[in-house]
Symmetry: C2
Subunit: 119 residues, 2 copies
DNA sequence: ATATTCCATCGTATTTTAACGATTAATAAT
DNA sequence: ATTATTAATCGTTAAAATACGATGGAATAT
């Protein structure tokens, strides 16, 4: 078996498990759905908080909205607080900060305009 | 178009088909995978261009890489040019501009820190 | 002409996402 | 105590995403 094709990772290989890449992918993936983008927008614009606030306004079943909220929660973008019969979802400052950093970092990355055309 | 300024048909209704929301979701979704993020990074960092440049470096089958390139192409982020036996993929200036605008708009949206805590 | 290289596409399998209705647990109201 | 409300979770279904190997077409090399 040729040495170059051995199981050991090669020098020039890319590490897809790079934490920064993985986190950026996770964050952008969480944004990558109209419903989740809308929920975040509502959380910023209005004093919406409860699951019902979103189901009132979104053309989706309550369970579906709940599922999207879970995704945002698992990504760290929103927090969950059980306040009585209603459960309150708020923007999570740490998560939002991380997201802002991520978005800015990506913006910087894509704004390098001094690249010559390769083709 | 800034995400925050998108229109909705009724005051209390949300339009999930809003073009700005849909486009932002599409763009962020395209970024939402480690492989695609890596491909874009390679396109920016180096003079990589050909499909083989990516397959050399990514621990994935050629057909899988090709599939991810297709997603980026369909999202408008890269262009495809058949240059002989090799096919060249480059960053698409229009798409990248749109992405930058989108990312900046999202950054602005999430950076509104004058929101009071709701809970 | 033949062989080789590159890589898009096809077919397929597996996993994940997205959506729904039904159920259930908890609280609040009567 | 009983009923109503809220919303998470469960179970299911359908669709999309992800990955792979195989195939084939086009350009190049021999």
């Amino acid at each position: 078996m040729p040495v170059l094709e051995s199981t050991s990772s090669r020098i020039n290989d890319v590490d897809l498990d790079d934490p920064a890449i993985k986190r950026s992918a996770q964050l952008t993936k969480a944004l990558g759905h109209p419903v989740r983008l809308t929920i975040l927008k509502l959380l910023i614009q209005r004093d919406t908080c409860f699951c019902g606030d979103f189901t009132d306004v979104l053309p989706l079943a309550q369970s579906t909205v709940s599922q999207h909220l879970k995704v945002l929660k698992n990504t760290g973008l929103i927090t969950f607080t059980s306040s009585g019969v209603r459960n309150c979802y708020c923007l999570n400052p740490e998560g939002i900060d991380a997201l802002s950093e991520c978005l800015k970092s990506l913006t910087d990355m894509f704004e390098k305009t001094d690249r010559p055309d390769c083709c």
